[in-house]
């Protein structure tokens, strides 16, 4: 190509304490192409993009924009150079309107000119087919609409290169479909798009080029058309081979297991209010037996959180009853339930699951810190705690340099592994698992699913709440579908199909 690349990085290197996040990475993006970055959690994708966006400064190497060598010191510099980023956690101010968010940072004068901004938005909306209500507050928008606002925001600033950081991880399948159409529109309009993902099928479907990162290094660059001309299975195989060095990802084992007759958890007409004071669960009844994995399907926000919290003990029941091994636990405290053998693994791993500012060792004993063997006479026994944390790290293959590292320095996948390790270490009778594999790379996903299956084989009951259809169908023995706080139906593994579940998730009864 004769046109200079929109973005070109040469030998970008960046290290953080204990990790080499980027190791001499060369990367480029041309106008009118989709260049995908694939890699495991912690491979360095996000770090590289944060360098391009001016959030980090590289230790070595340089960046060229449109053939010009430049330094990007802040997001402002980056935006000025025509690089726009759509963050995984949207960079929008929730209590401002869409329009105010669009102009923020580039207001073009002291007094806001919202009329002109609205006209400009209208023009962009028409050109790219992206409609949005300019006066709505961000906090009232759905996740899909927020993402659309972010994309419009980059176009609003005239960005030529767009970086999308794991854009589909928060979207429903239909919203994801729309996003791909948008990306195609952008590409046809001559924009360059960097797509960060770890979903292979997405990468295969839309990319012109695919670069694969592993442990901070770029290990391959593949041509999208070539891959698409291959058989889908072969193409996937090829990428996985490169990513994981030939180590095959084990298929989800479907070994026969025995489900005992003993009912471990029983919900009887459980009703709770959610945090907004609206009905969160509406007369929910089901039971889980020993060694059973009970899957919960549903579009986010249909009562999943209320269900977890009702069983875990954080949310008071309005009516109904919850029994654990026959005993009524409806009025028991969180810690009491935990002692009885209920382990709740939250989907909010960064806030609710652990304290990011504490070390792994401290996080390991968050629940049992004042009990032996971790402490005697209220004095924490550090040797025991370290040994315990080390065991969790080793047994569950958590990538960390030791029990003293600050938890916040670990990647999402490793934090999740650690939280799971902690949750399973008490040998619970029931595990409540909310989106255990959300946002994780293929290998970690597999590892965690294996782990849950293994636990259930040993007689542990699992309540698995997930938005991934594959995971739901592969792992669950029975599936309950939540819609508007109600269980629409309970399906057996053998007659659960994605179509059937999908319909029920939208509240359509047979």
């Amino acid at each position: 190509m004769n046109v200079p690349p929109l973005i070109k990085t040469a030998g970008i290197t960046k290290s953080f304490p204990g990790v080499l996040a980027n190791d001499h990475i060369d990367f480029d993006l041309f106008p009118g192409e989709v260049h995908t970055l694939l890699g495991e959690n912690g491979a360095g994708k996000t770090t590289l993009m944060n360098i391009l966006y001016g959030l980090y400064q590289p230790d070595e190497g340089h960046i060229e924009v449109c053939g010009q060598k430049t330094r990007i010191r802040s997001p402002y510099d980056s935006l000025k150079l025509g690089i726009g980023m759509v963050h995984q956690h949207f960079a929008l101010i929730p209590n401002l309107s869409v329009l105010e968010n669009l102009v923020l940072g580039f207001e073009g004068g002291f007094i806001l000119n919202m009329k002109d901004a609205e006209k400009k938005l209208k023009r962009i909306s028409e050109e790219y087919g992206q409609a949005i209500d300019p006066h709505e507050l961000i906090q009232n928008l759905s996740v899909g609409e927020r993402q659309r606002t972010e994309i419009i925001k980059t176009l609003f600033r005239g960005s030529e290169a767009l970086i999308l950081d794991e854009p589909t991880s928060v979207l429903t399948p239909i919203e994801a479909e729309e996003l791909f159409q948008t990306i195609t529109t952008l590409k046809n309009a001559g924009k360059g798009v960097v797509l960060i993902t770890h979903k292979l099928n997405e990468a295969l479907a839309i990319s012109d080029r695919i670069s694969i990162l592993s442990l901070g290094r770029k290990i391959a660059e593949l041509n999208g058309d070539e891959l698409r001309s291959m058989d889908e299975k072969d193409a996937t195989e090829k990428i996985l081979n490169i990513m994981f060095g030939g180590k095959p990802i084990p298929e989800c084992s479907l070994v026969e297991k025995t489900i005992s007759d003993q009912v471990v958890l029983k919900l009887e007409d459980v009703e709770v209010m959610n945090s907004r004071g609206v009905v969160g669960l509406n007369k929910v009844s089901f039971e889980i037996r020993g060694g059973e994995i009970f899957g919960i399907a549903g579009v986010d926000g249909n009562g999943q959180k209320s269900l977890c919290e009702a069983i875990g003990g954080q949310r008071e029941l309005v009516s109904g009853r919850i029994r654990f091994r026959g005993e009524d636990i409806s009025r028991k405290s969180v810690s009491k339930r935990h002692e009885m053998g209920i382990s709740y693994i939250t989907d909010d791993r960064m806030n609710e699951g652990c304290v990011l500012d504490l070390s792994l060792a401290e996080n390991a004993i968050l629940r049992g810190y004042c009990q032996p063997p971790y402490s005697r006479f209220n004095i924490i026994d550090n040797t025991v705690v370290d040994r315990f944390a080390n065991k969790l790290i080793m047994d569950f293959d958590v990538k960390a340099t030791g029990p003293y590292v600050r938890t916040g320095t670990l990647s999402g996948g490793n934090i999740q592994k650690f939280i799971l390790a902690r949750g399973l270490s008490t040998e619970p009778g029931l595990i409540i698992c909310s989106k255990p594999t959300y946002g994780l790379d293929a290998r970690t996903v597999n590892y965690i699913q294996e782990l849950l299956l293994e636990e259930s084989k040993q007689g542990t009951s699992v309540l698995l709440i997930t938005s991934e259809m594959d995971e739901l169908i592969n792992c669950s023995d029975r599936i309950g579908v939540l819609f508007n706080g109600k269980i629409m139906a309970i399906l057996d593994k053998c007659d659960a199909t994605p179509e059937k579940i999908g319909k029920l998730m939208l509240g359509i009864e047979e």
């Binding site: 968010n101 940072g105 007094i111």
Partner: protein, 312 residues
Amino acid sequence: MSSLMDMALIGAVMASTLRGTTPILLGALGETFVERSGLLNLGLEGMMVAGAFASFLVGFKLDSLMLGFVAAAAVGMILGLLFGFMTITLRVNQIVVGLGITIFAHASCSFLHRVIFGNQFPIMFTAGQTHEVPLLSKIPLIGQPLFNQHWLLYLTFLSVPVLYFIMYKTSLGLRIQAVGETPWAADSSGVNVLKTRYIAILFGGIMGGLAGAFMSLGDLAFFVPNMIMGRGYIAIVVVMLGKWDPLKVFLGALLFGFSMSLTSALQVAGVKVSPDFILMTPYLVVIATLLIFARSTNLPAALCVPYERGQK
């Protein structure tokens, strides 16, 4: 006869309500922008004390009221800069720095006053002059109490709509709201978070200094070390009560100005209640209004949280 007395009393209450409102309003308007940007300035009380002392000292020694007010604004700004440097750049805990500034200002002003004036509390006779607004001050009953006041009082009240406009209709206001709510998102939108917070705290400092100057050179004409008597803290409460909206903050400040003037009016009217109890009224009003109106406050999400790039 008694109706004449009543009329005079009502007029006096009106006038003293405005004068009592002014320092609280000045401080609160500044603090509104400061808190919106994500900073909680508990040093406001100290900035008001320092403003009161600096304005009196400079005004009295140089015999220039104008220089007195300029000095107050400058001292307020310097303390604002100090607060900003500690909390924004060095990321020290805002509450500690704020209380530290208040204690420091109290102590140093008392000390300097003792060194410079000894046991004397001189009066600056040119201070506290009022200005009649032509025509409007001739309106019967309300003309004199409302339109024969100090120039800074007029300016303060006129600044309310201006600041409202700045908060909601200008790029600066938008940026201040953004950095106090989701600073990393503002940063990623191209807003300089630290600079925006510095602008807010410098403005807050100036307003705090002027609030103090109004006490010593506008409403009164002398300085005594504990003359601010918690008005800075009341201003912080008013900001919360007014939910960080300049117009509502104005109403809140007016309420406290009124309850303060009522305390003197009740004493003048000879109500047979212990004067100590009467002096408590403004503070009781603070607690009562907070209980009624401020139960569901949406604090700026990043209030008291220092910003560091890359730390989500």
